[in-house]
């Protein structure tokens, strides 16, 4: 029974509903009540099923949804086994989060990449755990969750937690702490007293609508929601302006240094021949043993760019990686473990992944795939280390580009605010 607390299950109408279980319609109008979308596949006899959330198991017009109340059966004796120090600015944000919890409101933390948001969350998570609250930390991106997990494991080593995502092997268990992709929230109903959505702006394709539904579905009526973002979407920014969402703003990184500026270089058609300026930069990296990422627009660019570099610099070890790469985790781990000096990558590594002390080059930064926010995120990969708080971020473009300029402006604006708080270059 425990494993059903706070869960929402699909149940065939033809099968008997167990006693004392809340059952509700799977579709109202034509809208799927699990995911809030209206995208159908047809079945015989005028029945239909939801295509939008099919990956979580089918919901059809032959089904009802069952949900199970969340009784908060936790002991509340959780220990925060983290003894780092928050900076003064982090402490301010952290206190605002505690207030968010006690006032059960919705709150946005707008913090630059590398502001140390995970650490800022520890006090509010700890507070919620000691109140026997149930907590979910979710992100649209699985990488973000995978990166967060070991850090939460360290900080709350005594607390039982479960990690849920599409490719997970761990079986679901009833735990006070749930780490999951946003999608997985569709399997919960009124379950969480505190819901934290990390990298809220990175929701792909289906847009904010499904995310909003997932959050609304999974949180309790009386609950707190914290959104985290370095590059909030226009919708979120509007909510801030309308003051329907309170905000903490943190423009300074944890080491008190400003964000690295995004530099540009105009080059010729780089797909035909790698530009000299670019190769000169790589040469410098090979001499100084500096580790670096090269972002390219398309999966089809990966191999040719990688092989051209390898041809010119055969002694320098690197690799290439893309979203559907079967060896993706392994390659990223090799980069983390400093087994390789560089990775040629698509935008999948734009966020959530941290390699200390790297530089970043972006080929074709003017192409469509790199949005303004993606470029800001990519620039944010650099200078994450206290020992090397700055670094090089260079965008190679064929023409002056409005979007690249907008990204530069966004970084400059944050640095302006950061400087006011005493940030250094």
């Amino acid at each position: 029974m425990k494993s059903y607390y706070g869960r929402q299950l699909v149940h065939a109408k033809a099968n008997k509903v167990p006693e004392n279980i809340i059952s509700s319609a799977a579709f109202i109008g034509n809208v799927c009540q699990r995911c809030g979308q209206n995208v159908h596949g047809k079945l015989p006899n005028d029945h239909f099923y939801c295509r939008a959330c099919l990956a979580l198991g089918r919901v059809s017009s032959l089904d009802v949804l069952l949900s199970f109340p969340e009784p908060n059966h936790f002991d509340g004796n959780d220990i925060l086994s983290w003894n780092g120090q928050l900076t003064q600015q982090q402490k301010v944000v952290s206190d605002e989060l505690l207030e968010t919890l006690s006032r059960q409101r919705e709150h946005l933390v707008w913090a630059v990449t590398g502001a140390g948001k995970t650490e800022m969350l520890f006090p509010v998570i700890h507070q919620a755990l000691s109140q026997q609250y149930r907590i979910a930390i979710v992100s649209p991106r699985v990488d973000v969750i995978l990166e967060l997990t070991p850090r939460l494991q360290q900080a709350f080593s005594q607390t039982d937690k479960v990690v849920l995502h599409g490719a997970q092997t761990e079986e679901y268990r009833y735990t006070p702490l749930v780490l999951a992709t946003t999608h997985q929230m569709l399997r919960f109903k009124s379950a969480f007293d505190l819901l934290i959505v990390d990298e809220v702006d990175s929701f792909p394709y289906a847009g904010d609508q499904m995310l909003a539904h997932a959050v609304k579905n999974a949180r309790k009526i009386n609950s707190a929601v914290i959104y985290l973002s370095a590059t909030p979407t226009k919708t979120l920014q509007q909510q801030v302006k309308r003051q329907s969402l309170t905000t903490s703003y943190l423009p300074l990184r944890f080491h008190q240094h400003l964000l690295p500026v995004l530099k540009t270089a105009i080059v010729g058609p780089w797909r035909k021949k790698l530009p000299l300026k670019f190769l000169r930069q790589i040469k410098q990296f090979s001499q100084t043993k500096r580790r670096f990422l090269i972002f390219v627009p398309k999966v089809s660019d990966l191999v040719s760019v990688y092989q051209n570099i390898k041809k010119d610099f055969p002694d320098m070890f690197g690799d290439h990686v893309y979203a559907g790469d079967p060896k993706r985790q392994e390659k990223v781990q090799n980069m983390r473990d400093q087994m390789i000096q560089y990775l040629v990558t698509t935008t999948i590594l734009e966020r959530g992944v941290t390699f200390p002390g790297i530089d970043v080059l972006i080929l074709g930064a003017d192409e469509k795939i790199f949005s303004e926010n993606a470029l800001v995120q990519i620039a944010g990969r650099v200078g994450r280390n206290k020992d090397r708080p700055t670094g090089l971020v260079k965008a190679y473009i064929q023409h002056t580009n409005f979007k690249v300029m907008a990204a530069q402006r966004q970084i400059r604006q944050m640095n302006k605010r950061g400087r006011r708080l005493g940030g250094r270059v």
Binding site: A14, N15, Y49, L54, R58, L62
Partner: protein, 181 residues
């Protein structure tokens, strides 16, 4: 090379173990045609289509399967039925989905109290089970060539039981086809 009775891949052209047993039991062999091996890709397809219920996927093999059925040139096409319970939970018969657009006759139904999906039984139990089907109504199939259609062929149990009923109605010959085996 494959088994003469069911097309199973093997190193010789003799009857495979299963077909040999059906013959020993006095059955007339079905001369089964299977379009594809039941490999990993097919398992994944079936998982998505049949068990996760993504009925839209029925179109993927519709064309090849229909063509093959037309070539076999039977008088009557009879799909293997699913139980009433499956129809109100899964919501579709995976086999009739696969052959949508082809003229078929639903002569058989699953007897009450029978579960039509038998994945939960192992091979041996499946071969020993008794007749899971019945005729929807009495018909005469005198002199007719019948083609039975199923989604997956495993031991032949399902199809041989279905064929028994059709022969009882006077069918001249019963052959069978499945998407995979």
């Amino acid at each position: 090379m494959g088994c003469l009775g069911c097309g199973r891949q093997q190193t010789n052209n003799q009857l495979c173990h299963d077909c040999y047993r059906w013959q020993q039991k006095g059955k007339k062999l079905l001369n089964h045609t299977a379009l594809y091996q039941y490999n990993d890709a097919m398992r994944q397809f079936m998982q998505q289509y049949k068990f996760n219920g993504d009925y839209d996927l029925r179109v993927i093999f519709n064309c090849v399967l229909s063509q093959k059925i037309n070539i076999l040139n039977a008088d009557i096409i009879v799909p293997i039925p699913v139980s009433d319970h499956t129809m109100v939970t899964r919501g579709f018969n995976q086999t009739t989905g696969l052959i949508e657009g082809i003229q078929y006759e639903q002569l058989l139904k699953v007897s009450a109290g029978q579960k039509s999906h038998q994945s939960q039984f192992n091979r041996k139990i499946r071969m020993m089970r008794k007749q899971p089907f019945m005729l929807i109504e009495q018909v005469s199939l005198e002199g007719k060539e019948i083609l039975l259609v199923d989604d997956v062929y495993t031991t032949g149990n399902t199809l041989y039981h279905a064929a028994d009923l059709l022969y009882e109605c006077g069918a001249k010959n019963v052959k069978s086809i499945s998407l995979s085996r």
